[in-house]
Symmetry: C2
Subunit: 301 residues, 2 copies
């Protein structure tokens, strides 16, 4: 019993192309249709046989869909939704994978009045992008957050839950606002910090860029991975989750100030205590299967 039989994916980047592959791998009787606004991406998708069909227009991709998932940057969701509005079947469910949910939900509601919308966000990815970077097992063991509201028919949410669970994902429901705060902490602020520190390091006069690269194994290289993520996607996330990101940044700035003060004052106990309590979090993440237990993420040595 598959929850959907005609799935359309709009936006064939890392996440969209991984969904296409996962549908084919785990829901073999479902048909998957793809569309991307970029003709070059469509050509690649056809060449690598990503979908059963890749259409040249967004409208053509949804005409017989029972599930449409928008996998475009958060700032492009409203436009992508508007492009399918006229051709969407009355009983189709529309979802998305955007990393900010309150603003996306509002944009989808505006563009698709009367349509059943179940916003979603699979918390998974790599630093690579484009149709060739996806893989079917990306969502396995990861969490997918759904953010329906009171107007969402419970059956639609149940079907979407079954869809993600079919990929091996765990599904959780919460409000869009809570999602945005949780992700500000676990994803958005870490990305902002990583992007910033990589920039700071390249701008120092007294340390050359070549030195930063050579000695990056001391810790810096970990930050460069997420700082290599798609700039458009991340610009849109920050513009669309402004309040929660600034709130968490405010707290982080205070905590960084306390650390600097402890260093300035030579207060070893404060540092030791702070550095000791963080290990428990790492341990829990590994115990719950959210990271590799191997040293150094399992990097090859």
């Amino acid at each position: 019993m598959q929850p959907f039989s005609r799935v359309t994916v709009i936006g064939l980047g890392l996440i969209g192309s991984s969904i296409c592959r996962a549908v084919r791998a785990y829901m073999p009787t479902a048909r998957v249709t793809g569309h991307d606004a970029d003709a070059e991406v469509r050509a690649i998708a056809r060449r690598i046989d990503l979908c059963d069909d890749v259409t040249d227009t967004a409208g053509a991709s949804v005409i017989d869909a029972d599930l449409v998932i928008l996998c475009v940057p958060v700032g492009a969701m409203g436009k992508a939704a508007a492009a399918i509005a006229a051709d969407l079947p009355a009983d189709a469910i529309v979802s998305d994978v955007g990393g900010a949910k309150a603003s996306v939900f509002a944009a989808l509601r505006d563009a698709l009045p009367g349509v059943t919308i179940v916003p979603g966000h699979p918390v998974a990815g790599t630093e690579f992008c484009g149709p060739e970077s996806g893989f079917a097992s990306l969502f396995k063991g990861r969490w997918c957050i759904l953010t329906p509201d009171e107007a969402t028919p419970p059956l639609a949410t149940l079907r979407l839950r079954a869809f993600w669970e079919g990929f091996g994902a765990n599904v959780e429901e919460m409000t869009p606002e809570h999602h945005d705060l949780v992700l500000a902490v676990t994803s958005h602020v870490p990305h902002l910090i990583a992007y910033t520190i990589v920039g700071t390091a390249s701008d120092l006069e007294a340390v050359t860029r070549s030195e930063v690269i050579k000695y990056s194994a001391g810790g810096f290289r970990d930050f460069t991975r997420i700082a290599a993520s798609d700039p458009t996607m991340w610009r849109d996330v920050f513009l669309n989750n402004r309040e929660a990101v600034l709130e968490v940044m405010q707290r982080l700035t205070e905590d960084l100030g306390a650390m600097q003060k402890a260093i300035r004052n030579g207060d070893g106990d404060v540092l030791f205590d702070a550095f000791s309590r963080t290990r428990a979090i790492r341990r829990s993440i590994i115990e719950q299967g959210q990271d590799d237990a191997k040293p150094d993420f399992g990097r090859s040595h």
Copy 2:
């Protein structure tokens, strides 16, 4: 032609035990003697046959050494050096692996007047610690920084260079002061940020610790790895590289302020530009073999 034939390693944690293993793997005719101040660590080292000999006192470990490497936390270097001073052969070279070099060099000079000292720092490691966490290939392809001064006999530096190159490491020389600034950028500040953000995330009232763990694959988990590093080692690094760390933190704080301002003002162009230029650094790190090219550090999926 091996540069040393009787190597003593004092402190048998991740780095010390990796040196022991590397000597055995790559310099099979050299004898390696180990000592650790902790009796439990000595017992483990004996059980896993880490060294040719594990001595109960520091003095006994150095009596016939031609190279002694101190692998204890930065703040314990002076004491470790003092403990071997009386038994050190006149022609032995003393080195270390500390992550801060100016303060360690001063402490070693104080404790070992007249001894040939070549301070060193292999920029390599994992988040694990203890004698069982080491491995012989840890230094392969990584950089080892030596910080001799004018008083250091050039031949001693050459021999230590050959020693590290024997493990597959690349060797660079610089002043202790420059080392401390470079490492503040590439290692110390990244660790401080990681420790802090993991702490901030656990302290938020509106987001539970369980949520932070569940959704950590969105970026946060990357930070928890280095925030699981040894607290004593890192406390000592910050206490002993205060000025450089605070200088880099000052710059980072300014840059974070600029990012927050761009988010607050909805200035997408500033964000996009900042997020675009950081990719080049990641690319160079991979090209130069300082990180895994595989997506997500090669984590298993």
